[in-house]
């Protein structure tokens, strides 16, 4: 199990949801958030673990970390 230095302002529990559920949950939350908000997106879907960073790369938001928590991944994103 890994650790991260980032403390989320908001955690999105999208475990057990398949693609694109976790990504859609993140997009909806990010759009409603203030700048500099740190999100932790929890997903157990391997496809989303790879796809969410692809989406972030096309936005002004920042991918902070991806942590393997064993049963799921935690993806940390800071809003622009």
């Amino acid at each position: 199990m890994s650790e991260t230095d980032y403390q989320p302002d908001q955690t999105i529990d999208a475990r057990d949801a398949t693609c694109p559920g976790p990504l859609m949950d993140l997009i909806g939350a990010v759009k409603a958030a203030d700048p500099d908000t740190v999100f932790e997106l929890q997903t157990s879907d391997a496809g989303s673990k790879d796809d969410v960073p692809e989406w972030v790369a096309e936005t002004d938001h920042e991918l902070l970390d991806i942590v393997d928590e064993g049963e799921h991944w935690s993806i940390y994103v800071r809003t622009a």
Partner: protein, 132 residues
């Protein structure tokens, strides 16, 4: 490229779900999407069929019926959610509805309006057309 104009002409739920996923994620990412549902594509949106979970298709249909929307939002839910957060319009083909003798009340509440082919072509003029 100023967005996608997706023509959904198949009622095969695997194709319907794929069109929904691509269109929903694009719209949520602020890429304009016009989804034109025509021919057999409309049958997937019949309220009665949706209520019964009677999806047309092969293994994907069976898997989706078994999942029951537990792990994956079904296409009509995805589209409704995406419309809340991005530029997505969903249209039902007037000609196909005439053929079936249906109106919008016969379908799940996801359509913005009905549309003819000229109207669709106007909306598709500046977009990449994807035919499903």
């Amino acid at each position: 490229m100023t967005g996608y104009a997706i023509v959904l002409a198949s009622g095969d739920v695997g194709r319907v779900q794929a069109a929904s996923i691509i269109g929903s994620v694009a719209a949520a990412s602020d890429v304009p999407v016009e989804l034109f549902v025509t021919m057999d594509g409309l049958t997937a949106f019949e309220s009665e069929r949706v209520e019964r979970g009677a999806f047309e298709g092969g293994e994907v249909a069976e898997a989706m019926a078994a999942d029951g929307g537990e792990r994956m939002d079904l296409y009509y839910e995805q589209l409704a959610d995406a419309k809340e957060i991005g530029p997505l319009s969903v249209y039902a083909c007037e000609m196909a509805m005439d053929l079936f003798g249906t109106d919008l009340d016969d379908y799940v509440d996801v359509f913005d309006d009905t549309l003819g082919v000229a109207g669709f072509l106007n909306r598709a003029a500046d977009k990449q057309v994807v035919f499903v």
